[in-house]
Symmetry: C2
Subunit: 351 residues, 2 copies
Amino acid sequence: MKLNIALLAGDGIGPEVINEAVKVSDAIAKKFGHEITWKPALTGAAAIDAVGEPYPDATHEVCKNADAVLFGAIGHPKYDNDPSAPVRPEQGLLKMRKALGLFANVRPTFTFPSLLDKSPLKRERIEGTDLVFLRELTGGIYFGEKGRRDNGDTAFDNCVYTRAEVQRLAKKGFELAMTRSKKLCCVDKANVLETSRLWRETVQAMEKDYPEVEVSYEFVDAVAMRLVQWPNSYDVLITENLFGDILTDEASVISGSMGLMPSASMGAEVSLFEPIHGSYPQATGLNIANPMATILSAAMMFENFGLMEEGKAMRDAVNKALEAGVVTEDLANGGKAYGTKEVGDWLAANV
Amino acid sequence: MKLNIALLAGDGIGPEVINEAVKVSDAIAKKFGHEITWKPALTGAAAIDAVGEPYPDATHEVCKNADAVLFGAIGHPKYDNDPSAPVRPEQGLLKMRKALGLFANVRPTFTFPSLLDKSPLKRERIEGTDLVFLRELTGGIYFGEKGRRDNGDTAFDNCVYTRAEVQRLAKKGFELAMTRSKKLCCVDKANVLETSRLWRETVQAMEKDYPEVEVSYEFVDAVAMRLVQWPNSYDVLITENLFGDILTDEASVISGSMGLMPSASMGAEVSLFEPIHGSYPQATGLNIANPMATILSAAMMFENFGLMEEGKAMRDAVNKALEAGVVTEDLANGGKAYGTKEVGDWLAANV
Ligand SMILES: CC(C)[C@H](C(=O)O)[C@@H](O)C(=O)O
Ligand SMILES: CC(C)[C@H](C(=O)O)[C@@H](O)C(=O)O
């Protein structure tokens, strides 16, 4: 296969972890006879510094014409303390999601047996957890009309959803559930919000098309509790943008393996793959960042092209590295810590 | 002191736990020379069944004219499966909050040494946790305009906040922080929402009036993570209605003492006190419900009248009961389980 991949390294440790993901992906391509052309493009604070905006048109062109986007991380402390500044890296993120139509954010939370002790939860609570959130990513209160009235003394944000938006996301959820344990949980606040009632009635109407999937409906506050109590009671969860923002982050810390969690944002044409961790500015340039989440994101990318063996080879290599202790300092547990590059080298040699 | 207390027992185990709170409050009143007049009124499914609505005008009259409201729990399974049903118990709750102007929901999460092992979190993560959320309760997306367009295919919910609403809630937060460790965390999503930017700028402008309070600003998704990782790093947190709904529930399960957590909803004129647990319909009438959260809510009520010794006597009695193993089956740990009434009797005799 010939693959054209847009490469958005971003800020902080972004470029370093992206380098290793490229290295390992190239090794996989070589092994399985694919040809990857990487198309680097600017994003985040790096793009603001270079051209004055976080998601420049030139970057959009590159992404739109690529088969997929591999993304590092964005965010820089100089933009952190003023969320009302006119230009901020996050705006680039939101603009990119909307412009590329990345409507379904896929966020798995799973455990690695060797890392269970890193979880804040007791072992019996977290063991066996393997869930996936599908978060709607281009609608809801993120993109509704917002503004001020009364000389700035009243602020408003409008949350809007259409039935088609819900169907599109829910369809992915049902399909994903069919490939897993056929359990789907729709997370909403239908006892208060009209948009949630639309979500619930839309998903209810789709149940008949997937008779094998067992669907449950839970309020967002109840899910926020159960995720901490019994995370392994969940499988596939679908939800709207803001609930997904909060719950996927909550879910990410329960496994103890946050530094390893990949994600995908699926669009109708192009999809994007990125680690869930941030740009970790303090670690920039130190060759200490853990590249595994980005490498597992690249694995998701291969699988999304239908290249299941390739993805599996990358996952297996990561598991082997964890078992062999070829890990960066965040996972070294007082033992030997390898550098970002050395972990990448080892994985490239072992896929 | 002469106290006039509206008594809203509600549904499920509500009446049983309320009975015990009345019993213990009366014992306290006797001991300290106060006179409490209890004014029972209908609410929840019980009120729907009796008069067709969950918060009848007659109940509002009773609450409005009381010095405080003591509330049990509402919710009944027959209303659970259809969030779009025209009359539901939760609507009564929202109507009551708005009508009584209960703008600040106070939700403490603290630990009892004897219950630490019930927490899903490892001991070292949860030990020493003692935080309080102040959740705004009468504004935001709960009460903004909501509805449908396009023949029902588009739904919307509007989130609105005014500067005055934020100031009123934040003032309570600063004041509470002054009585504790002088740390205040404002939880928002100011990188995305205009209402959050109003929250943040309003709180920032108030900082100068409380120079001793150290204020931090955190995004709601980050708080959802840190609550699980390091709950004891928080003290007082203030936030808007929907974020508060999700985060206070998340916080409630981390301590292992959810069945014991009280809460208050403060208004300009009258305030309401209630356990955070639900109506637990399966346990109705079995004399097994744990009345301690309701009794601790009554303790908050006394303290809110400035009757600090009275509140402390109730708390101390609960601690003594926990140490003596005078507990209901949820805390019995295989040991002897006392009934709801027996726990109330013991506490009334020991305050
Ligand atoms: C940076 C921010 C705008 C973004 C979001 O809220 O979606 C982030 O939290 C995420 O989840 O990707
Ligand atoms: C029942 C529901 C409307 C309510 C809310 O969302 O406020 C509940 O979850 C709560 O937190 O008291």
